[in-house]
């Protein structure tokens, strides 16, 4: 999204897009399983993020999906030939530029295509630091896999001029909305409540009866936190970068302090991840009380942070 906007002469950073769309979150959803392990999300799904920005900035963003892969490809080629930058949703598994051992079946991945040459597309993937190329047949397959969160060839682009953007007035509401999502959604598996719920689940893992499952569960949390997605620490760093920008735009140094606090929280998520990863590998003995304590502490700290953030705007 950031790349699409930049292409239209609206230089919004990735962090700003993320913050504007109030996409930082937490959800622990045991009902949805990935390889027998529960879904743990640290941000809203891409469609939510995109729609969020679209509404806030009144962007002429157009979404298209396709029943026929051939139509999907033709449309992408058409748009690229018009000189547009196009966002795509795809599976990770069939993207050849992902290192082989990082390819798993995750279908809600987003990337940008900004050109095509011969049989290849020029793409920019948010996970990596450099743009890359992707063979057309591979991208085609990745865009049209079936399964959970199937992409259906989703693409999006701007089909009109982007209105001039005045960010400052939009930020307070966006920040408050994100605080609401972390603090006040009346569901036990969302936001800070969700983190505590996960903490309790972790404490009850069957470490004696099924240590392998216990280790896998614990490793799974880390994968959800660090594998796909931008920036690290479950997007906390990305949001902290957003708060830093917001502090300048709104002239509120308090936001800069909160940004630093969130950075510290992000570091604690990483510390949790390190302990969990060592347990997962079997390098450290299973220590559920430790993980429980770290998560509960994180829930408390995030609750305090988002409370302060809400009051600061």
């Amino acid at each position: 999204m950031s790349a699409l906007l930049r292409h239209e002469g609206v230089p919004l950073s990735e962090a700003m897009v993320f913050g504007l769309s109030a996409s930082l979150s937490f959800a622990y959803i045991p009902l949805i399983k990935i390889n027998q392990l529960p879904l743990i999300a640290y941000r809203m799904v891409p469609r939510f993020i995109l729609n969020g920005v679209k509404k806030k900035l009144r962007l002429p963003l157009r979404f298209e999906t396709f029943r026929s892969p051939i139509d999907g490809r033709r449309r992408l080629d058409e748009l690229l030939d018009q000189g547009r930058v196009v966002g795509l949703q795809s599976s990770v598994f069939f993207l050849p530029y992902f290192p082989a051992n990082m390819r798993f079946h995750f279908n809600a991945h987003n990337l940008i295509a900004y050109g095509r040459e011969d049989d290849e597309y020029l793409v920019s993937d948010p996970v990596f630091d450099e743009p890359t190329r992707c063979r057309a047949s591979d991208l085609q397959r990745a865009r049209f896999v079936r399964g959970a969160l199937a992409p259906k060839g989703l693409l999006y682009y701007f089909d009109g001029p982007v209105p001039p953007v005045n960010l400052a007035p939009l930020l307070p509401a966006a920040i408050r909305k994100n605080c609401f999502l972390m603090l006040h959604v009346p569901l036990p598996f969302v936001g800070c409540r969700g983190i505590r719920l996960l903490a309790r689940r972790v404490r009850r893992l069957p470490e004696k009866r099924d240590p392998e499952f216990t280790r896998r569960f614990v490793g799974h949390i880390v994968r959800m936190q660090e594998e796909i997605g931008t920036g690290g620490a479950g997007f906390r760093f990305l949001y902290a970068a957003f708060l830093q920008e917001a502090a300048v735009l709104l002239g509120k140094p308090a936001l800069q302090d909160l940004s630093l606090q969130l950075t510290t929280i992000g570091d604690e998520w990483r510390e949790f991840a390190l302990h969990a990863a060592r347990i997962n590998k079997g390098r450290d003995a299973i220590d559920l009380p430790l993980l429980h304590r770290l998560l509960t502490d994180l829930a408390k700290k995030e609750r305090a942070l988002f409370g302060a953030l809400r009051r600061a705007v």
Binding site: K33, P99, D129, V145, G219, R223, A241, L260, N280
Partner: protein, 131 residues
Amino acid sequence: MHANEVPERSAPLFEGRHKAVYVVDEHGRYLIAKSGGTEAEVSVTEEAVSWFARLAAEARERARRGETSPLEVHMYRQRMDLPTLAQATGFWRWQVRRHLRPAGFARLSARGLARYAEALGLSLAQLQSLD
């Protein structure tokens, strides 16, 4: 994470690539850095990979003995499990379970085989062999 904590060298897992991460410099300002992979993320990814590899190896042994079909081997090799495979092909789970058995797999129509091959990203020949 601080800029000086970012792992520079690309972990073997990353095959020479780097991930974009958000870190702070010495003034507390955010910038995007290239990470070669932190211990935690590399470790859990490697564990996930070897979990599938183990399942695939076990399945291959059972397939050689005729106790399961090549489908199970390829499923795990492509890092899928039964629900994922069912969703990716559009088959019901009970159907996939049937196709995972040697007899069920042998009775698969050409169209059924093609559906699995497509979902797994394999050719028909690959799907039907154990290698």
